[in-house]
């Protein structure tokens, strides 16, 4: 088999080998000369990761190249990398929903044993169990290590609620009612916004909405139940909410568009990932600085108080050689260590992980809504989007169907019936 590594990497490896042969060198630069390539999603943490990487190099000698990619690009490139065994990326940010697929295919190193071994160093107990379980955990394996936890929170306009004499909602029923009440189309104020764009955008938001009403995509055997009466009712209600209370362009919104509409002051309520929360008070990007509040998302009456969580984990490419895997693991431990991780968040990464972070005075001063996120993590539900191997195709089907309903191209029952058959085929 021909080696395909570039000259630079070959040189680095050569240096490494000779170092190894020479015996243990200085303990403080164990990975001198090594380069690690990290594929990162283009979220808030990406820039911060790139900024702190040099500190890791200073400590261990390993240079970490952070390559910032968009979501489709990220998934395509790392999947191609794993499937083609091209070892282009040593580390990658792994989305919560890819856990099942990665576990089944064996793309990344199973970190379960290393976590047990280094538990004290990592301070495992300080990490929220819900995050450890969902970000990279799957049926006993840990295919990636949690790194950036997001909570689904409710961002709302304190001023609009006050003006209308309403209190922020505590149940989903109230949420829907408030949304309609707060909508004033003549003033271009809308009570609700969510992703409507075909594909992952609308799929995620609807699945979250569905879950808050107690619905589920899969039945208790883990098989798709997309056209269950509850799901169809949920889609119908979602459409109604869009029609009555959402900005007209919402049917085409993805995360960026949704956030933008909130920051521009068009919307009174938005369920969103906590990572965007810091921006609402930043006058450089937001027109509603000081007017936004963050609170826990409501659930329907009688449903358990659970909060959607999501986020990213760091996975190690299984194809790379053991020494590099070790260096990659060292990086993961370093970047998720209490001190460094706090630093990431102080710099605006918005990616939470540890209980200690949520009560840290400096972080709290900067981001007063942390307790909301903390509670969300404590009762976190990372499975409102099933993290199974068939997830990408399932998401695509759901995304297509819901969008079709939102734009009036199909009615809920037909749409969901249509994809149920296709979904079942995925599980054969």
């Amino acid at each position: 088999m021909k080696p395909f590594i570039g000259r630079g990497t070959a040189l680095a490896l050569g240096v490494l080998v000779s170092l190894g042969v020479a015996g243990a060198e200085a303990a403080d630069k164990p990975y001198q000369g090594m380069t690690l390539n990290l594929a990162s999603q283009n979220d808030q943490f990406a820039a911060v990761l790139a900024a702190v990487a040099p500190e890791f190099e200073a400590q261990t000698g390993a240079k970490v190249n952070v390559d910032i990619l968009s979501y489709p690009e990220l998934l395509t490139k790392i999947t191609a990398d794993y499937v083609g065994h091209t070892k282009g990326y040593d580390l990658a940010t792994v989305d919560i929903v890819w856990s099942g697929q990665f576990a089944e295919a064996g793309y990344t190193v199973d970190l379960a044993d290393w976590i047990k071994r280094d538990a004290a160093e990592i301070k495992v107990d300080d990490i929220y169990p819900s995050l450890m379980a969902s970000l990279g955990g799957y049926h006993g394996k840990q295919v990636a290590f949690p790194f950036a936890g997001y909570a689904n929170v409710l961002a709302y306009r304190k001023d609009l609620y006050e003006a209308a004499g309403l209190k922020p909602p505590t149940t989903m029923e109230e949420f829907v009612a408030d949304a309609v009440k707060l909508t004033d189309k003549s003033k271009k104020i809308y009570g609700f916004v969510a992703n409507g764009q075909k594909g992952p955008a609308v799929a995620q938001d609807w699945m979250q909405y569905n879950r808050q009403f107690g619905g589920s995509i899969l039945d208790k055997d883990g098989k798709p139940a997309l056209n269950s009466p509850a799901n169809i009712a949920s889609v119908t209600a979602y459409k109604k909410l869009f029609d009555e209370a959402a900005p007209p362009g919402a049917a085409d919104y993805d995360w960026g568009g949704r956030e933008e509409s909130f920051r521009q002051g068009l919307v009174a309520n938005m369920q969103t990932w906590s990572i965007g929360a810091a921006d609402y008070d930043n006058p450089k990007v937001s027109k509603i600085a000081g007017k936004a509040g963050i609170m826990l998302t409501p659930s329907a009456k009688g449903q358990p108080q659970e909060y959607g969580i999501g986020g990213w984990a760091l996975g190690i490419n299984k194809d790379i050689d053991p020494k590099k895997q070790e260096a990659a693991w060292a990086f993961i431990k370093w970047v998720t260590s209490p001190a460094v991780h706090k630093e990431l968040n102080m710099r605006g990464a918005g990616s939470y992980l540890r209980k200690s972070e949520m009560t840290d005075p400096e972080l709290l001063a900067k981001y007063p809504f942390l307790p909301v996120i903390a509670t969300s993590f404590e009762h976190g539900d990372g499975d409102f989007r099933p993290r199974i191997p068939q997830y990408p195709e399932l998401q695509d089907l759901i995304g297509g169907a819901i969008n079709a309903v939102l734009v009036g191209q199909a009615d809920p029952k037909t749409a969901m019936d249509g994809i149920q058959a296709k979904a079942e085929a995925l599980f054969k």
């Binding site: 998934l75 499937v83 075909k198 594909g199 007209p248 191209q409």
Partner: protein, 316 residues
């Protein structure tokens, strides 16, 4: 050796050269063959080779993520495509987009070329500036128009929505008009190129024929229809066939604006195929889609050449 008449016109020298002997011919033939061979081999190896391989993949159920489950399935991938309403809609959309875009670009391009026909400083500068849209990366063009057409904050979308010219969700979110909007965006980007090729054709027209026609009393529109257009056929042919092949494979602008939505209204064969191949790594299905694309383009091109070439030769 058969001789095909060339537009350049044969000269006495041609036959003189050809009659210098058999060995000259053969030597020249070998020389020409040698000149053409590198390109031919290269293209066969790099472009055709993988395509043939891909074609063979289309008969397998082959997913790169689960390579162990690869097995021969004959025509199943194609049958599945035919049965899938999403794929059928994508096929229709692709044809609609292609013909719509090419027609619009041709008509507008011709108009612009006629406006720029006269050679003066104003027109030369205008032409240079006019080519700028064609130089912007298609990806970026898509993003720009996506922002501009947004009904809440787009410089185009907001007025359109306010005036009721577009639905409240914006043009790109309306299933009936999204494809037409994309055709318009494509026209924005490529009409200048079309205009350029047609203008080049106009400039190469022999002025004596045109002057003779005006002297004979033909009016502007008559001149256009009976003299200019027919003589413009070679340029038009080139422009149309180029655009047709590219429009059929449109991807970038649709990918970033609507991703095939809303509800499959702008789904095209390329978007569908890329999703199968690069998102789900379903090589079998993706290869079937790409084979369909190639076959469609070949059929269109053949029909096109078949119809226009005799006309072109007739008018030379």
């Amino acid at each position: 050796m058969s001789v095909v008449s060339r537009e350049g016109g044969a000269s006495a020298d041609d036959s003189a050269a050809r009659s210098t002997g058999w060995s000259y011919d053969r030597k020249r033939q070998l020389f020409l063959a040698a000149m053409a061979t590198p390109a031919l081999l290269y293209v066969l190896a790099i472009a055709v080779g993988p395509m043939v391989q891909g074609f063979l993949y289309s008969f397998d159920s082959y997913n790169l993520i689960r390579p162990g489950s690869r097995h021969f399935v004959g025509l199943d991938n194609y049958i599945a495509l035919w049965r899938d309403p999403t794929a059928r809609q994508a096929l229709i959309n692709t044809f609609v987009f292609t013909f719509g875009a090419v027609t619009l670009e041709f008509v507008l391009g011709l108009g612009i070329a006629l406006l720029l026909w006269r050679d003066d400083w104003f027109n030369r500068v205008a032409l240079g500036l006019l080519l700028i849209p064609a130089t912007v990366t298609p990806l970026v063009v898509g993003l720009v128009f996506k922002a501009l057409l947004n009904p809440e904050y787009g410089l185009l979308g907001y007025p359109l929505a306010e005036l009721g010219l577009s639905g409240p969700r914006g043009l790109l979110a309306e299933p009936q008009r999204a494809l037409a909007t994309l055709i318009a965006i494509d026209a924005w980007e490529w009409t200048p190129l079309m205009a350029l090729i047609l203008l080049a054709g106009l400039k190469s027209l022999r002025t004596d024929i045109l002057e003779a026609a005006s002297v004979d009393g033909a009016t502007g529109p008559q001149r256009l229809q009976h003299i200019i257009l027919p003589l413009l056929l070679p340029a038009a042919f080139l422009a149309l066939i180029l655009r047709m092949m590219d429009a059929f494979r449109v991807f970038d602008i649709i990918f970033v604006t609507t991703s095939g939505g809303p509800a499959d209204a702008t789904n095209t064969l390329m978007i569908y195929g890329v999703k199968q191949g690069l998102e789900f790594f379903n090589i079998g299905a993706a290869s079937a889609v790409s084979t369909v694309i190639v076959v469609c383009i070949l059929v269109m091109a053949a029909a096109f050449i078949g119809v226009l070439k005799p006309a072109k030769n007739r008018n030379a």
